[in-house]
């Protein structure tokens, strides 16, 4: 009997923890601290936790299916898989951001060059590219 009591206690905290995490996620989205598109994976991972917490027998079923001798270890495996997926997801986002940042920097450098050419042409009158209207002012040096 003691074992059952212990399990349900763990179950209570597991459900509570999952719900709190999901609510925290929603709060972040509401406060515009997290874009919805980057929260989907988190939501997926937390939902898996919640489902496992609610249906306690699921973990044992999965452990048996995968041949894991010590059922509680299954939760760590799921956790690690979830974290790896999230990290990979972030790596793709970082790569994309770096690509865009590089693109922007090159465009900025080209615009500055054009606006210098525009300034020079204003006094000398040489041909070149159109000066950007309202573009950034060329810094000296």
């Amino acid at each position: 009997m003691n074992g059952v009591y212990y399990m349900s206690r763990v179950q209570f905290f597991a459900i509570l923890g999952s719900v709190v995490l999901i609510l925290f996620l929603f709060w972040l989205i509401r406060r515009r601290r997290l874009l919805a598109e980057y929260s989907l994976l988190w939501l997926g991972v937390f939902t898996v936790f919640l489902v496992i917490a609610v249906f306690g027998g699921l973990l044992d079923e999965m452990a048996r299916f995968f041949g894991i001798l010590y059922p509680p270890a299954t939760i760590f495996i799921l956790l690690i898989i979830g974290i790896i997926m999230l990290l990979l997801h972030f790596s793709t986002i970082i790569s994309e951001l770096k690509r865009k940042l590089n693109e922007l920097s090159v465009r900025l450098a080209l615009l500055e060059n054009q606006s210098r050419a525009g300034e020079k042409r204003g006094s000398v009158g040489r041909t070149g590219a159109e000066p950007p209207s309202g573009g950034p002012a060329a810094p000296d040096g």
Binding site: K98, N102, S105, V106, R107, L108, A109, L110, E112, N113, A117, A129, P139, D140, G141
Partner: protein, 232 residues
Amino acid sequence: MKLLAIVPAYNEEGSLPGLIESIRAHLPEADILVVNDCSTDGTAGVVSSAAGIEYLDLPFNMGIGGAVYAGMKYFLSRDYDILVRLDGDGQHPPEQARSLVREVAAGADMAVGSRYILQGGTYSSTMRMMGIKLLAGISRIMLGRAFTDNTSGFRAFSRRAVECLASDFPDDFPEPEEIYILHKNGFSIAEVPVVMKDRTAGISSISLLRTWYFLVKVLLTIFVKYTLGGKR
């Protein structure tokens, strides 16, 4: 044929003035574009005060790949026909750029200045030579042609080659990948013997680490992107 010489430069205030003079002397018809890769020394001042050249100031240090990419974008925004790259550290002697430009003018899409066509060309440490030999072997297996100097940045390009490269330019060490991209897309590549000035006497632990990082990254990119039906 309108020619643009791009000079990627990071902290090269000492060598730039001489290099620019030398480019003017040996490629008098070329416009010169220096890409200042956010140098922390007086490069920006040297470049902005030099008469008759254009320059780009990158807002942060983007590495050689980013600097060359910026130069290519500038090239494409004007009506140039041939691009030639000479690094700001002066290891690519302008007097030898003519033979690269001539190859492209004669119809090649890229001319690679190779240190290893003429005999007696051992410029680098044993470790680097092994890497260069390895890359040559890999290009023989994967492209059916052993490019002798995959890592040489001393190159000239046709406009259509630049258009192709700029559509998805490699980030960090672009040289070997340029060969794979252009070869896989059916562009013609010529190798031209050159002699470079090697300014690296001895090899520090950091550059040894960089050599390894470079090799692993290039091999990973080549295998993942250009094998098993990779389209570029």
